[in-house]
């Protein structure tokens, strides 16, 4: 049992190593932005607390549940291709893409409501951070969906197999990074006050 555990814990990172350089770079950028938000908030706590009340927290909750579930669908896609089921892999990826689309739709509805309420980049420091962080993440979701769409197309075309599915793992790793960043962003911007 212990020998088996030690064997499976010596595997390389899933997917192409280059994507992990990109992932760690992205995580670093988001980490710096999170720190900037937290320290800006520490200097303007009253402003941040008041401005946070203007957010509809249900949008944040819905999008977190959506993104976590899409990430789970991508896990199932990876498991499917490892079992040699290309079509199932494609189906799970299409499901994840659909949820990604739901995330974007919810966020756009939230942005629309924000603008109607007068939230803007120049309104106050909290709004500047909120809009910048969430729009920056929004663009990562768009990029992640583009990657997943390519992977899904190739899965349906039978371009992956049990022996060669690096592309699936590469796309999946990026998508999980997008999910991970949102989980922190949700807590920081929507919940903690």
């Amino acid at each position: 049992m212990n020998a088996e555990a030690s064997v499976i814990r010596t595997q390389p990172l899933p997917g192409d190593f280059a994507i992990w350089i990109f992932i760690f770079a992205e995580l670093t950028v988001f980490g710096v932005l999170f720190a900037a938000y937290a320290f800006a908030r520490s200097a303007h706590a009253d402003l941040f607390n008041a401005a946070q009340l203007g957010l509809n927290r249900v949008y944040g909750l819905a999008n977190t549940l959506i993104l976590v579930t899409s990430s789970y669908f991508v896990v199932r896609a990876t498991q499917s291709i490892k079992a040699g089921r290309s079509t199932a892999c494609g189906h799970w990826l299409v499901g994840a893409l659909g949820l990604g689309g739901c995330f974007l739709a919810v966020k756009l509805a939230e942005f629309h409501q924000d603008l109607a309420q007068g939230i803007s980049l120049s309104a106050n420091l909290f709004d500047m951070f909120y809009l910048s962080l969430t729009f920056f993440h929004f663009m990562h979701v768009v990029m992640g969906m583009a990657i997943l769409a390519v992977v899904a197309h190739k899965a349906y075309a039978g371009r992956y197999s049990v022996a060669d599915h690096t592309g699936v793992e590469t796309g999946a790793s990026y998508w999980h990074m997008v999910d991970l960043v949102w989980i922190i962003l949700f807590a920081l911007v929507y919940v903690i006050h």
């Binding site: 498991q79 999910d179 989980i183």
Partner: protein, 89 residues
Amino acid sequence: MKSPAAPAFTACTVSWVVLLALTTISFELGAGAPGRALTAAVLALTLIKGHLVVSHFMGLRRVRLRWRIAMAAYLAAVGGVIALAYSIT
């Protein structure tokens, strides 16, 4: 006979359900009074969620120790910096 993928499927599915539950709990905690207890509780839940995503979704529980340490260090650093900033408010 169980397929080799069965244990991973179980762990990932359990992780997904736990992630949904912890997200909902965090949301409900956020409706409470602000303060350090809220910050600490939500940060702790967030770090647990991050660990679940990294280990079971990204699959880093199977990789070499240095990568697991790198990702754990990232989560600890982000959580620590946020906790520090909120503690000096």
